[in-house]
Point group: C2
Chain length 296, copies 2
């Protein structure tokens, strides 16, 4: 038994050919795209990330763009988190909940303009959700899936590599800030975010066509720093307490039992799931996700 | 390069062990579940279906249940098709559209009770869409994903097999009708529907646990009729003009360019996408999907 090759119903990332070239041997379906998940052994990929730096194709974090005059009001309805203080140039980790307070996704939200937000999503289709909510919510918004695809550079040498590529401005980026940049005329958005507990950056290409060119440029610039191709490392993320939507978190979970109180602002006038989450809070959560320490 | 085995993020159908036992060698991700797509060669599977009968695990047609006092009004908003005349015990092929008239899915809708509908969906997450729409639509509905998973028996001998299993009542089922039945205490819903242009039935198990028992029971009953394990056959469906959401149809397509006029009732007071589709109709479609005849 096997999964059917790389079934063409599932989309390929703009970096696909590069990931093959650099040794990707296994792919997972994620958000309707193939995510490369294996190059080296997970243990070698762990040490690459922890001691040097890894370059990960995470184009699967399919981006949802919400824009228009009511973009902030609409965005605020979609998440329990207070987003009123998020400025253009900043990102936030948020949860999105349904009417029962169940977690639908835990994307990184990026404020791209006063009236424009991006959601860099985990593995569930937020286009369908947000577009559905907008049918009757009465907000003047446009919801699209722009052709922007992130790479992640994660690890203690990642700042050396991105500054070699994009200049020293990138070193001024605060944690969860983003900036525009370009290289060889390829426009990108760079954010100080990522799916590891190491220092790291995400580089979103604007457009699909020049993905392999960008990937190659990064690999060349990373050579002196021993940059390795890799993928979101399960050992490091579990060690770092980084949750994974689709395995640790399901729609049956609510943010309170996941200890995400900091992502909920009950003082907001309204958000989807507020009534349900208030009830859960008042009655007390019945189960709680906790970390474990493992020896060995 | 290969897809990563049978990645556990993607769910398995209740018939999974049986499909392995009967020779499934390849699986596709579809609606967040693994769909067995290869047993024999596609050409042998074609002749099995066209000359005898095939048993297909299509548990991936993830079922959405819409129930409650406003279920009919809500369901009617979700599709351009007139559903007011659909009685309990009947099914209909429908399209579901977004605000721009783009096709989100083309499920089989089943009326399970006056106030309860099932959607047996193609490959896009209608839980997220319908649940999103319900946030602000003002309808009193409950939206769930019940544990019901269809098998299809398709082919000219399919009626002989289902009547051997469930009795002669099943022969009275009209095209696109459904009925309740049970075998060895396993409750099922049987419908005269399917993804071939042959005579065929779908059998929805109610519950996950006894899937393999049901599959085995059907295979045994099918022996005298040379029932073969199989999967939705691409040759037969293309030959029969049966469209495939995710390959033939994308969200960029509207029902008018797909020649689905029969699935649109512009006289309905309202449905999602009505304004957009009226505009497309009035201005004329700019492209049209057509069939081709192939010789050889």
């Amino acid at each position: 038994m096997k999964a059917h090759g790389l079934n063409p119903r599932i989309r390929k990332s703009p970096y696909f050919q590069s990931t093959l070239k650099y040794g990707a041997t296994e792919f997972h379906p994620y958000n309707g795209m193939w995510m490369p998940v294996g190059y080296d052994t997970p243990i070698n990929e762990y040490w690459n990330t922890v001691e040097r730096a890894g370059l990960w194709d995470v184009g699967v974090q399919r981006c949802i763009e919400i824009s228009g005059p009511d973009a902030e009001r609409f965005m605020s309805m979609l998440t329990p988190r207070d987003i009123s203080n998020i400025k253009v140039g900043q990102c936030r980790y948020i949860v999105m909940t349904n009417q029962e307070g169940g977690v639908l996704n835990d994307p990184v939200m990026m404020r791209m303009a006063e009236d424009k937000f991006w959601l860099s999503t985990a593995d569930s289709d937020m286009y369908l959700w947000t577009k559905g909510v907008a049918c009757y919510s009465g907000h003047d918004v446009i919801i699209e899936t722009p052709a922007v695809y992130p790479l992640q550079i994660q690890g203690p040498r990642s700042h050396l590599i991105v500054s070699a590529l994009f200049g020293d401005d990138v070193l001024d980026l605060k944690y969860y800030d983003w900036m525009k940049a370009d290289i060889h005329g390829i426009d990108v958005i760079i954010s100080r975010t990522g799916y590891s507990s190491e220092i790291g950056f995400e580089i979103y290409i604007l457009g699909y066509e020049r993905g392999d060119e960008l990937y190659e440029t990064i690999m060349q610039a990373g050579k002196p720093f021993e940059l390795s191709p890799g993928s979101p490392n399960r050992i490091r993320r579990i060690e770092g307490g980084v949750l994974d939507y689709g395995s640790d978190i399901l729609v049956d979970n609510n943010p309170l039992e996941l200890s995400m109180e900091r992502l909920i602002d009950f003082n907001k006038p309204d958000f989807i799931g507020k009534t349900a989450l208030q009830k859960i809070r008042d009655e007390g959560v019945t189960r709680k996700m906790v970390g474990v320490f493992m020896d060995g």
